[in-house]
Each structure stands twice: as structure tokens, then as C-alpha cells.
């Protein structure tokens, strides 16, 4: 129930953002911030507010599905730039998740064994 509420609130927020952004004038006066100027220099595309909110919502859902509690997921997303959130949204499933050398030993052993079997290496001879 609690989860449902949090979700519906974010959706309401999104709708509000979408609607208000339609009312905004097409031209935006004011200061050009550092990130915008640097990204422009590096020829990177800009991510607008609405797109960012959508990306955020998707990433939040994905992190929750991967076992992160909602409040924690929110804090984690808040530490990322719009560009990074967009990247997570697109590629989270295929991104590497570093876990550790210990967990790897099984895989490495298997690889070595297979290599031995197909005759590429020759390290188990004395066993």
C-alpha cells in the first residue's frame, strides 16, 4: 500500500511537470549554467526536465526491482547527473556489476579446466 502511494505520487508529480512544461514559454531567459555550457562545448546533447523526470522514474523502478528500498533508491539517484541517470535508464541491465575476486574463482577454475581439456594449456598435468 505504502509502495503504491509513493508510486502514484511520483506519477502525479510527473503529470504536473508535463502539464506545467507545456505552459512554459518556449524561450527560457536567465543564466546559462556550467553543466549546460560544458556539455555544449563537448558536443553532448541536453536532457530536458521532463526527460530527466521520466528517466528518474524508470531508474527508481529498476533499482527497487533489484532489491533497493525506495527511499534508498531515491538518495542514490539524487547523487547522479541527468546524463548519468539517462545512461542508467538505457543500459542498467547490461552494465557490469563488480562483485569480487572470490566469487570469480569458480568461473576461472572452470575456464582453466575447459582450456586444459581442449589442449590450449597444460597446467593440470601433475594433478
Amino acid at each position: 500500500m505504502k509502495k503504491l502511494n509513493a508510486k502514484s505520487i511520483t506519477y502525479i508529480n510527473l503529470c504536473v511537470l508535463l502539464i506545467t512544461s507545456m505552459w512554459l514559454p518556449a524561450l527560457q531567459a536567465g543564466m546559462i549554467d556550467i553543466q549546460t555550457a560544458v556539455d555544449h562545448e563537448l558536443a553532448l546533447t541536453q536532457i530536458d526536465r521532463v526527460q530527466k523526470a521520466l528517466n528518474q522514474q524508470h531508474v527508481q523502478e529498476q533499482l527497487e526491482m533489484l532489491g533497493v528500498d525506495p527511499a534508498n533508491a531515491q538518495e542514490r539517484i539524487a547523487a547522479l547527473s541527468s546524463e548519468e541517470i539517462a545512461l542508467l535508464d538505457q543500459r542498467l541491465q547490461e552494465m557490469p556489476a563488480g562483485s569480487g575476486a572470490l566469487e570469480v574463482i569458480g568461473v576461472v577454475f572452470l575456464v582453466l579446466l575447459i582450456l586444459e581439456l581442449v589442449g590450449v594449456i597444460n597446467i593440470f598435468q601433475k594433478i
Binding site: A29, T36, L42, S99
Partner: protein
């Protein structure tokens, strides 16, 4: 039993497929020519945290942050970066967590010399390695704390091993398979060893947007000292001053940016706003008009036009109220 054979057979065919795709990638890549000229360094005082199961990310990041003066444990970091269902941590989340602990994450150029130069500055480097195959990856984070060209070794705090000495070629292979990803943690004000102002300013801008840390001004101040001929460094320093309300410093720095690159539209836009705020409307509009004539098709032209409209409105309002006062 038959199940077991089935699983083994499945693994075997998968691996054969992997191997055939892999070709001869088992041979370590040759070390770069400059390898032998790199300086030997060992940061043996780098804090070491033996990793718990699946927790190489938190352990490595704790080591990096401790060396940078942040007191933190892997357990605290685990809550910030560990993904239970993936049994690991993502690179981007390590970047986010570095920011949450008041350090600027900075991605290094993908070569061994970049690591060596950071070690020379007493900064260990957190790297991602693939200890498996391209087709059957085994992702692992470790901290590079030393390089020895004469012995051809790299020293790492890795997993549960402190000061692990690894053959440089083997390390390079595992690093290659992880797209040579490596970061350092910079204190606000600290500059990276390499010479890439745009990448540094981008890292600082992302950090300051996320954290609102006032100390970040030191990064911009040092950036203009290091790269005095870079307009983007002056622009960033100016914009930071503008946001923190330091008008005179902002104006001075925007002017410096424009001396270096007279057609820098973001500087023109922001400086005209600063002029308008201090009542110098004509000066602001003159600057904007000059900017608008430069590139009629530029991405920022619409922003400049909007600013022009706003300043003209400000000017009218001010004149109006002045007329009211005098009448």
C-alpha cells in the same frame, strides 16, 4: 546425476562458443612503449578493507575515500552502492557515492601512464577489471596502489588480499576487458594529474549540482590558475561566483572568459544579466546585440533572445518607476 551432466554440458558448449569468439585474447596485450619510462610508486599506506561476499565495490571505494581523508567503512558504503539482485555494484553508483561523501569522482584517461601520474600525486586509483572472459565476464573492483616498471608489476588492494602484486600484462588484459575504467577521488580544490580541463570542469559541475558543496569554489579557482588560457575554466569560475552572489568576481571572470574567446555566448548571456542586475541596462543590451549578430543559427541564440527580452522589460519597469518618482 543426469541433471549435473546436463549443466556441465551446457557450460562446456557455452565456453567453447566463448572461446571461439574470443580467439587469441588469452594472450596479454603488449605493454605500451612508455611503460618502462613510468615512475615506480607504491602507496603502501593506503587503507585496506578485506571484502565481504560480493562487496568488492564498497571495500575498494572505502579504501579510495579513506586515502582522500574521508572516514568511512565498507558497510556504510554498501548501503549506498550495493545491488542485492545483481550481487554487485555499478560503476555509476560508485561515482554517485563518491559525490555523497564529498569527493569529486574523476574518470582517468584509459592508459597506464594516467594511473602512474595519479599515483605520483599520492592518489590511488579504483579500477574495474574483468577477470573472466569477454563472453563470460567476472567483474571485479580493485584499487591500484603501486606500479613497478622494472619488475613489470602492478600492486593492488584486491578482494581479501592486501598489496597483491600482479603481472602488468595480466592486469592490462583484465583492465582492457573492462574498457579500462578507472577513477580517482578528488578533494574540492584538488586537480587531476592529466591535462583535460573540459573533462575536469564537467566532473566538478556534476559534483556541485548534486551536492551544493560551497568548497567547490576552490576547484574552479585552481582550474583558472592551472589553465589560465581556457575560457571554459573562467566561465565556470564566473558562473559559480554568480550563483553564490559574488557579483564583482563574476563580472571580472566573465570578462576574462570573453577576452580569451570573444564569441563565447554563455559568457555574453550571463554577463549581460549581471550588468542588468546592477542597472547597467544599455551596457547589457549592447553586449547582447553584439552576441546575437555573431551566429544567427547557434543553439544558444534563443536563450540570448529571451534574456534580451527580459532585460528590455527590466529596463522599462525601472524607467517607469523612476518617472513616477520624479512626477
Amino acid at each position: 546425476m543426469s541433471n549435473r551432466i546436463g549443466a556441465a554440458g551446457w557450460y562446456f558448449s557455452l565456453l567453447c562458443l566463448g572461446l571461439s569468439l574470443q580467439g587469441c585474447a588469452f594472450h596479454s596485450p603488449p605493454l605500451p612503449a612508455e611503460w618502462i619510462q613510468l615512475q615506480k610508486s607504491q602507496l603502501t599506506d593506503t587503507a585496506f578493507f578485506p571484502q565481504k561476499k560480493y562487496q568488492c565495490g564498497p571495500a575498494s571505494l572505502a579504501s579510495l575515500l579513506q586515502q582522500s581523508g574521508v572516514t568511512i567503512t565498507p558497510d556504510t558504503l554498501s548501503r549506498q552502492i550495493y545491488l542485492p539482485e545483481r550481487h554487485g555494484s555499478l560503476q555509476l553508483e560508485l561515482i554517485g557515492a563518491t559525490r555523497r561523501n564529498n569527493r569529486i569522482p574523476y574518470r582517468l584517461q584509459p592508459n597506464l601512464s594516467a594511473i602512474a601520474r595519479e599515483l605520483q600525486q599520492h592518489r590511488p586509483v579504483l579500477v574495474l577489471q574483468n577477470l573472466g572472459l569477454r563472453s563470460l565476464p567476472a567483474w571485479h573492483y580493485a584499487v591500484v596502489i603501486g606500479i613497478d616498471p622494472a619488475l613489470s608489476t602492478i600492486t593492488l588492494h584486491s578482494g581479501t588480499t592486501k598489496n597483491l602484486s600482479m603481472d602488468a600484462g595480466k592486469f592490462l588484459r583484465s583492465w582492457d576487458l573492462a574498457e579500462r575504467w578507472g577513477i580517482v577521488a578528488l578533494r574540492p580544490g584538488e586537480l587531476p594529474a592529466d591535462n583535460n580541463p573540459a573533462a575536469f570542469l564537467k566532473a566538478v559541475a556534476a559534483y556541485s549540482t548534486v551536492t551544493n558543496d560551497d568548497m567547490v569554489v576552490k576547484s574552479y579557482a585552481n582550474a583558472v590558475k592551472r589553465w589560465p588560457k581556457n575560457h571554459l575554466a573562467w566561465f565556470s569560475y564566473a558562473a559559480n561566483a554568480q550563483m553564490s552572489g559574488n557579483h564583482s568576481l563574476a563580472i571580472q571572470n566573465y570578462l576574462q572568459a570573453l577576452r580569451i574567446k570573444p564569441d563565447h555566448l554563455p559568457s555574453i548571456n550571463n554577463l549581460s544579466l549581471m550588468y542588468a542586475e546592477t542597472g547597467k541596462f544599455d551596457q547589457a543590451l549592447k553586449l547582447l546585440n553584439e552576441g546575437l549578430l555573431l551566429y544567427p543559427d547557434h543553439d544558444f541564440i534563443n536563450r540570448l533572445k529571451a534574456t534580451q527580452k527580459e532585460i528590455m522589460q527590466m529596463k522599462h519597469r525601472t524607467q517607469h518607476s523612476e518617472e513616477k518618482l520624479t512626477s
